[in-house]
């Protein structure tokens, strides 16, 4: 039975390889990112590594890598969830021809695991290269030249972790997709305001509390530490943690955001449609809002952290070491931002392509393709603006305590142009990828309005 499900899953994967491309990419890059830092941490245990070097490598691998891991796990889970949800109709169909909920879930899980496994193995391979590159970066500046790479199986351990998370995400998404009785006419998912699950609210509360807690600790304790990097260790991840917490609450925040932004959108049918869609089907657009919040929070928070660090420390502390820390931080920021950006684009593309029937329906009610594009633009604007504002808010959890700890006061001394610049970049990313996605869909349905006419 299980073998039969596996066979079906593999055939389904061969039939449309692109459907799982997003999962593949997220797992591949995620493993490469976390695996590289895991390799760095593992190198601390290599032979002939001095105690100070070992500690430095551990901190970089575990602490710095830890921020990235959070984003990776979040994005892998969200991507797998989106992939499974897109197949809700097909899963319903399978059940009408006799698949039990357990079989349907097993199929979904097997598909996700098969894709994740291949991607993770390739990613682990990349991580052994990435780990060596990271080590080369810090050698001479932060650790002695004599330290040699000893990543060993650490990239594989990271790969294992990412695969496990994919499996858990697929199981959870599969359970959601198989809830309730099988129906003969597979209804589209149309439930409106969904209450946030209890675990989701608990996880959000924990992340927010932890993020705010580390910010408080930074001001009260680590600001007075002799180690100038202590405040960075405590406050570095706060923006991302708070951002993730807010992302979990995205459906709720989007409903409020859509109400607040409504007067700014003007009149006209697209503003009307976009705003009501954001408010009444917030759980769908929230799949985009979450990544946007995390992207804005991570980009603003960590970039400003690096800026403050460069200004306040470069002069007073070992210059070679400080330069390396700045460089390393920039590498991390780059990877985190890239990752969050991929997640945003993926969520947007997936969210829009699953709405093709809805757009066909709007066409039948009299909407022109231009009006549909305008509606999507309104939605993207609402999501972008709300996400950027919340992301900027989350970033203060890192920026304010760290600026304070480094003696710049509540506001950093410079780079205040950075948050608006990141905001504009994130908004542009959101609007452009929405536009590209909706063009693809309306182009496809434009040829045959009657495709949806039944």
């Amino acid at each position: 039975m299980s073998a039969r499900t596996a066979g079906l899953a593999l055939r389904s994967l061969r039939y449309r390889p692109t459907a799982s491309a997003a999962t593949f990419l997220a797992v591949l890059l995620g493993t490469a990112l976390t695996g590289s830092f895991a390799a760095l941490a593992a190198t601390a245990g290599g032979t002939g590594v001095s105690a100070t070097d070992a500690e430095t490598l551990m901190i970089m691998g575990a602490v710095v890598g830890g921020w990235g891991t959070l984003i990776v796990l979040f994005s892998v889970a969200s991507t797998v969830g989106i992939t499974v949800r897109q197949r809700a109709v097909e899963i319903g169909l399978l059940r009408t021809v006799g698949a039990s909920p357990r079989q349907a879930r097993r199929l979904v899980r097997f598909e996700a695991l098969a894709v994740a496994l291949v991607a993770a193995i390739v990613g682990a391979g990349l991580a052994t290269i990435g780990g060596r590159a990271l080590l080369a970066l810090v050698r001479g500046g932060l650790v002695s030249e004599s330290v040699s790479y000893a990543g060993g199986f650490a990239p594989l351990a990271a790969a294992f972790g990412v695969v496990v998370v994919s499996g858990i995400a697929a199981t959870a998404a599969g359970r959601r997709a198989t809830q309730g009785p099988a129906r003969f006419v597979v209804a589209e998912a149309r439930s409106e305001t969904v209450r946030l699950g209890r675990w989701r609210r608990i996880a959000a509360a924990l992340l927010l509390a932890y993020g705010v807690g580390t910010a408080v600790v930074t001001i009260t304790v680590s600001a007075h530490s002799d180690d100038p990097y202590a405040p960075m260790q405590t406050s570095g991840a706060s923006a991302i943690l708070v951002g993730l917490g807010l992302a979990l609450l995205a459906p709720l925040l989007l409903r409020w955001g859509a109400m607040v932004t409504r007067p700014l959108l003007g009149r006209g049918a697209p503003a009307h449609l976009g705003s009501w869609n954001a408010r009444r089907r917030s759980h769908r657009l929230a799949g985009v809002l979450g990544p946007v919040i995390v992207l804005a929070a991570a980009a603003i928070g960590v970039l400003m952290l690096v800026g403050i660090d460069g200004r306040t420390l470069a002069a007073s502390y070992d210059p070679a070491g400080a330069r390396t820390v700045t460089l390393l931080n920039n590498v991390v920021v780059g990877m985190i931002v890239l990752f969050a950006a991929i997640m945003v684009v993926n969520a947007i593309v997936a969210g829009i392509s699953e709405r093709e029937p809805e757009f066909a329906r709007l066409r039948l009610a009299g909407a022109t393709p231009a009006q549909i594009r305008a509606t999507v633009r309104v939605e993207a604007t609402v999501v972008g603006v709300v996400g950027v504002v919340l992301g900027a808010l989350a970033s203060t959890a890192t920026v304010v305590p760290f600026a304070w700890a480094r003696g710049e006061g509540v506001l950093p001394d410079a780079q205040l142009w950075l948050p608006p610049a990141v905001a504009v970049a994130v908004l542009v990313l959101t609007l452009v990828s929405s536009r590209v996605a909706v063009d693809r869909v309306t182009h496809a349905s434009g040829r045959s309005v009657r495709a949806g006419a039944r």
Binding site: E192, E358, L364, A365, G366, A367, R450, R454
Partner: protein, 256 residues
Amino acid sequence: MTHTHPTAASGPHALTVSGLVRTYGTGAGAVRALDGLHLDVPRGSFTAVMGPSGSGKSTFLSCAAGLDVPDEGRVILDGDDLTGWSEQRLAEFRREHVGFVFQSFHLLPYLSAEQNVALPLRLAGRRVDRTHVRDLLARVGLGERRDHLPTALSGGQEQRVAIARALVTRPAVVVADEPTGSLDTTTAHGVLELLRSCCDDLGQTVVMVTHDPVAASYADEVVFLVDGRVAGRMHSPTADAVAGQLAHLDDLVGVR
């Protein structure tokens, strides 16, 4: 029967199609869904279109409503010849002159009943006349439920909202594709009575595709299609007569 209504300058027919040909696919596998179809639909009439699967019913409805473009032939809707129009122009024409009712309702899930009814007006950039919208909802028996979302409505109620939406622009023609196909008999009866009253009370022209003889019996006239052509017509139909004719469509076209 309310066949003759005060006609516009554009003539006694709300809809005229002539010589419609629509072929799907190419080469040996090509299917000729419409094969030179002619039909006039008088203003204010309720016409049912019937025929076996593959007879071209739905293709006819799509072409007549400006959703699909025929390969040959003309569609004259409310005095306008749609031949050669761009999709943009067709879309703008459709939302002013054609009301649509579908088997699966096609309401927007995030709009309330009232917002769904007003949608075509908004899309056309017209001012939303709230009184008109609420009158229509009251007419379809849902005045009390105008703030409900589609999920909070039954299938029959959703279809009533869809009918109110189809009427909101005071279109020249309401086209209905199997409007009772997803409804139980009792609910279907109510929806058909409603379509009937649109003709009788509002002078609305309705063209309905159906495979159900009972549904067809609500119409003024039934048009039978076979192989993409009109094979016969029946005035003042009864369900039994329609069912009998359907069973003997071969007699209409002769055995080929």
